[in-house]
């Protein structure tokens, strides 16, 4: 009696693989292959899996543990991935997992265990096919983050409202500061008495509304943007905050023009003495080349002061 080995039909193996993939939507790993297809030789299984991947019926994934998974490819899946080789597909799927935060080349390497060169080639290929794009995060101009082409970068990567193409837009911020100061000054002048703190103050929403109406910004400014501007003015001593009644979402204090705590134009104003702001004060010596006796700043100050 002859015991000839019956070679399994590749079509049968592929059918069984597809059925198994349908049963395991999360994907088939090697353990599942051994348990469900134990009667089939592994080399034949792998050969069929490669054929199915190339034909686009299965897609290969890699888990965080660097374990390979094969999953049924959705019929409506992105046809743009047709023609990509396995490595490129792997890289693409990993970037999909990172979402709108993207990943650097180093992160991709650590997840996939592929050589850096291979990952670089895959990313270049995907970029050329406009499947992936490069984003430079704020504060790290030399760093490259890769993400899927159709995704919007996360806020942590974006520069923000106060940034333009050339970096931080100081002029725009200064204009916003001036407008906020102007609004608060009008409120203070319109108040009945200086002690009427409520009528002389404004909420965050009121300031936002004024800025919106003044059309100094082409983009809509959020409450957080306005809060940051008012915070900067508070640090500068132009604006002060007071606890106020809850007046709106995210606003729990009132803003008003600051009254300087130092007497106006200082009788407390040692700053009026020119030596305080003199650019050559460190070099001033009695009897030296720069000395108080011949100082033109003191002469002009004495003439103009009294």
């Amino acid at each position: 009696m002859s015991t000839a080995t019956v070679k399994p039909d590749p079509g049968d193996i592929q059918t069984r693989l597809l059925n198994l993939a349908g049963q395991l939507p999360a994907g088939i790993n090697q353990a599942a292959l051994r348990s469900h297809l134990s009667d089939l030789p592994m080399d034949r299984i792998i050969q069929c899996i490669n054929q199915l991947t190339q034909s686009g019926k299965l897609e290969v994934l890699q888990t965080a543990n660097r374990e390979l998974l094969w999953r049924l490819r959705d019929a409506s899946a992105d046809r743009r991935l047709d023609g990509l080789d396995t490595k490129e597909v792997m890289v693409y799927e990993q970037l999909r997992a990172f979402g709108n935060k993207g990943a650097s080349a180093q992160q991709l390497q650590s997840r996939s265990a592929m050589p850096q060169r291979e990952i670089g080639k895959c990313l270049n290929s995907l970029e050329a096919k406009k499947l992936v794009k490069t984003v430079r995060p704020v504060g790290h101009a030399k760093k490259k983050i890769f993400m899927l082409f159709e995704l919007e970068p996360d806020a942590s990567l974006q520069a923000g409202t106060f940034f333009s193409g050339e970096g931080f837009d100081q002029e725009f911020v200064d204009v916003l500061c001036q407008q906020c100061t102007l609004y608060l000054r009008r409120k203070a002048e319109a108040a009945a008495t200086p002690a009427a703190t409520t009528s002389a103050s404004a909420t965050l929403e009121e300031v936002q509304q004024f800025i919106g109406q003044s059309r100094v910004s082409t983009v809509a400014l959020s409450l957080d943007d306005i809060r940051r501007v008012l915070r900067a003015l508070t640090l500068e001593g132009v604006v002060e905050t007071r606890p106020g009644p809850y007046a709106g979402a995210g606003s729990s204090c009132l803003y008003r023009l600051a009254r300087s705590q130092l007497p106006a134009s200082g009788d407390f104003g040692a700053v009026r003495v020119p030596c305080v702001s003199c650019p050559v004060a460190p070099d001033c010596r009695i009897g030296g080349e720069i000395s108080p006796i011949g100082c033109v700043y003191l002469t002009d100050w004495a003439k103009g002061q009294f």
Binding site: G139, F162, G167, F168, Q170, V173, P194, A195, R228, V229, R231, A232, L235, E236, G237, V238, R242, R259, S260, Q261, L262, P263, A264, G266, D267, F268, G269, A270, V271, R272, V273, C275, V276, S277, A281, C284, I286, P292, I293, C295, L298, T299, W301, A302, K303, Q305, F306
Partner: protein, 631 residues
């Protein structure tokens, strides 16, 4: 102590107390804790007399020249003319007496019971601040009070009669110079004004009663020194024979008000010194009280009297002046922020605290608890009665801005003045004002951001203050160089031995105490420069100032002669004198008048600048005092 402070004091002593006293002061300032023997060593005569220094040198010698004399170990000044070391000893003792009268010396006793003398630098500071204290007194209590404080500050200690006579005389002269003949009869009695001002100052503890400093005993010639002789052995001198702390009597009640007898004696003395032209008050003149013996007449140690019986003198109370100055700063800050009414409420609270503070009370961070009813009563008693309306609102505003703190809400509330917090806040704002003046508004943002949130990296700071990277870096580094912010390095590498810029975090923060110390030194330097400039301008225009003085005296003499001629009915002489007066008035040419006017403006501006700096220096010193208490 800044060099200029020593120079200023030395100049003051030389003018008011004589160059010898200034020389002794300088020596003790350079050699702290000097016993009398060491001081004598500097002035003892060598075996042969040195050459006599002409008098002109004494009048114009600077403090540096005096110091040079010491360094050469050659006797100087009036010591030159002395032939015996006894005379030198007497002179040194008199100088020490004068310095003690001004509270410029601190006495201490060594283990061998010898007395050592050191300079009381706190009092030196008080004398240097005299212009600021006079300004404060004039603002709060009027011109008469200012003159009283001036006399007491510059004389050290004065008796009641001497002080009031001088002040009344000055007031009378000012009245005569400023008012017209028609207005003169209506002027308030200068003696009464001086007396009332004196009584107010005593009641408010601006001045205090002090015991007299007993002068030294004369040393007999047969004590072993001999005329023309030389000290063979310094051990013959005993320090107990000279100034000792036991000789300076303490007064039990330094702020006891003027008694009726003292007031009457004062008014009588003023009338005698000013003459019958000045009207007295309607106080009845009782038989004069037993005249207190003047301390200078005491010649024997055994005849020492108890404090109550010894002649009492008065001196300025520097501690109270400092407290009042501090209060003035706080009330002005409150006025600028919250308005005049709130400022008056704070002033009333400060007055209550002042009444409760006893002598020797140290600078406290917070006041006692003040009840709402006490504040209302104080406002009613003061001229600020209208501040009672809206009192609760003013108190809430003061609490919001950190001047006071509400302790409880019962019975209207109880409050406490927060001196430390208020001074800290004012200091921080003063430093911010300096930064704003030097580096601009954006630098103030950086400073305040780091004050509120310390230990930020540059990147974090940029997002806080909304300043671009390059500008923020430049401002940050300029603040770092000027000492307004400080930097701490935190290495990222495991190798802490060789930190490199790209392997370390740099965290920036504000250390207000350190910044204030640096600014304090700078303020002293700026004050020194303004003083130097002012003195230089006076020196440059000395000839013109002398000419103006001579013209003024000439005109005054001519005016006296004209009025004498008018009263004698001699119209011809009067006309001639008037013509002479008109010619004398032309001695100063218009360009010279303009130059004098410019000089006056310049000196006024420079003096005002010195006062502004002094106030800032005082604020920083208060802050550092509170900061050291906290530490």
């Amino acid at each position: 102590m800044a060099v200029s402070a020593v120079d200023q004091i030395t100049s003051f002593l030389r003018v008011h107390l004589g160059p010898e006293t200034a020389a002794v002061f300088l020596y003790i300032s350079k050699n702290s804790k000097s016993p009398l023997q060491m001081i004598m060593q500097q002035f003892r005569l060598p075996s042969e007399k040195v050459s006599f220094f002409p008098a002109e040198n004494l009048a114009h010698s600077s403090s540096l020249r005096l110091l040079k004399y010491f360094e050469k170990s050659s006797p100087s000044l009036a010591f030159e003319t002395m032939s015996t070391n006894n005379q030198v000893l007497q002179m040194v003792q008199q100088c020490l007496t004068l310095l003690l009268t001004h509270d410029l010396l601190i006495l201490s006793r060594r283990k061998d019971s010898a007395i050592e003398y050191s300079i009381n630098w706190a009092q030196v500071r008080v004398l240097n601040r005299a212009p600021a204290f006079l300004c404060l007194t004039r603002t709060q209590l009027g011109h008469a009070a200012e003159l009283v404080i001036e006399e007491l500050l510059y004389s050290g200690r004065l008796g009641l009669l001497a002080c009031l006579a001088t002040v009344a005389k000055r007031l009378a002269e000012e009245d005569e110079a400023s008012s017209s003949a028609a207005a003169a009869p209506a002027a308030v009695d200068p003696g009464l004004r001086a007396l009332n001002a004196f009584a107010s100052l005593l009641e408010l503890r601006f001045i205090q009663r002090r015991g007299s400093v007993v002068p030294p005993l004369p040393v007999a010639d047969n004590s072993g020194c001999g005329s023309g002789g030389r000290l063979e052995d310094d051990d013959e001198f005993e320090d107990d024979d000279v100034i000792g702390s036991s000789k300076i009597y303490r007064v039990e009640k330094p702020f006891a008000p003027l008694s009726r007898a003292e007031r009457e004696a004062a008014l009588r003395h003023i009338r005698e010194s000013l003459g019958p032209a000045v009207k007295l008050s309607n106080e009845s003149l009782e038989p004069p009280a037993k005249r207190p013996r003047v301390a200078a007449e005491t010649t024997s140690v055994a005849d020492a009297r108890r404090p109550e019986e010894a002649a009492q003198e008065f001196s300025a109370n520097a501690q109270q002046l400092r407290f009042r100055w501090r209060d003035s700063i706080l009330t002005r800050a409150a006025a600028s922020v919250l308005g005049a009414q709130a400022s008056r409420v704070l002033a009333a609270m400060l007055d209550i605290v002042d009444e409760r503070v006893r002598l020797g009370h140290a600078q406290s961070a917070e006041s006692e608890v003040l009840a709402h009813a006490d504040i209302v009563a104080q406002l009613a008693a003061s001229a600020a009665g209208d501040a009672r309306s809206g009192l609760d609102q003013h108190l809430s505003s003061l609490a919001e801005d950190g001047f006071i703190e509400r302790q409880s809400g019962a019975a209207g509330g109880q409050f406490r003045i927060l001196f430390r917090r208020a001074i800290f806040s004012l200091t921080r704002q003063s430093v911010a004002a300096v930064i704003r003046q030097r580096l601009g508004d954006k630098a103030v943002r950086v400073f305040n951001a780091l004050s509120e949130e310390p230990n930020l990296t540059q990147a974090e700071l940029e997002s806080h203050v909304l300043i671009g990277g390059r500008d923020c870096k430049e401002l940050l580094y300029r603040l770092l160089v000027d000492g307004f912010v400080h930097c701490a390095e935190l290495s990222r590498a495991a190798d802490f031995m060789n930190p490199r810029p790209n392997t370390a975090y740099y965290l920036f923060h504000v250390n207000l105490e350190q910044t204030t110390r640096k600014l304090l030194l700078n303020m002293h330097a700026y004050q020194d420069r303004l003083l130097t400039r002012r003195l230089a301008e006076v020196a440059t225009n000395r000839r013109l100032l002398d000419k103006r003085q001579r013209v003024k005296e000439l005109l005054k003499n001519l005016d006296a002669q004209i009025s004498a001629a008018d009263s004698a009915g001699n119209s011809d002489a009067s006309a001639e004198l008037s013509e002479q007066r008109a010619q004398a008035a032309q001695l100063l040419t218009p360009p010279e008048r303009e130059q004098l006017e410019t000089l006056k403006r310049s000196r006024t501006a420079l003096r005002a600048g010195e006062l502004l700096l002094e106030e800032n220096i005082f604020l920083y010193e208060l802050f550092l005092e509170f900061a050291s208490q906290h530490n």
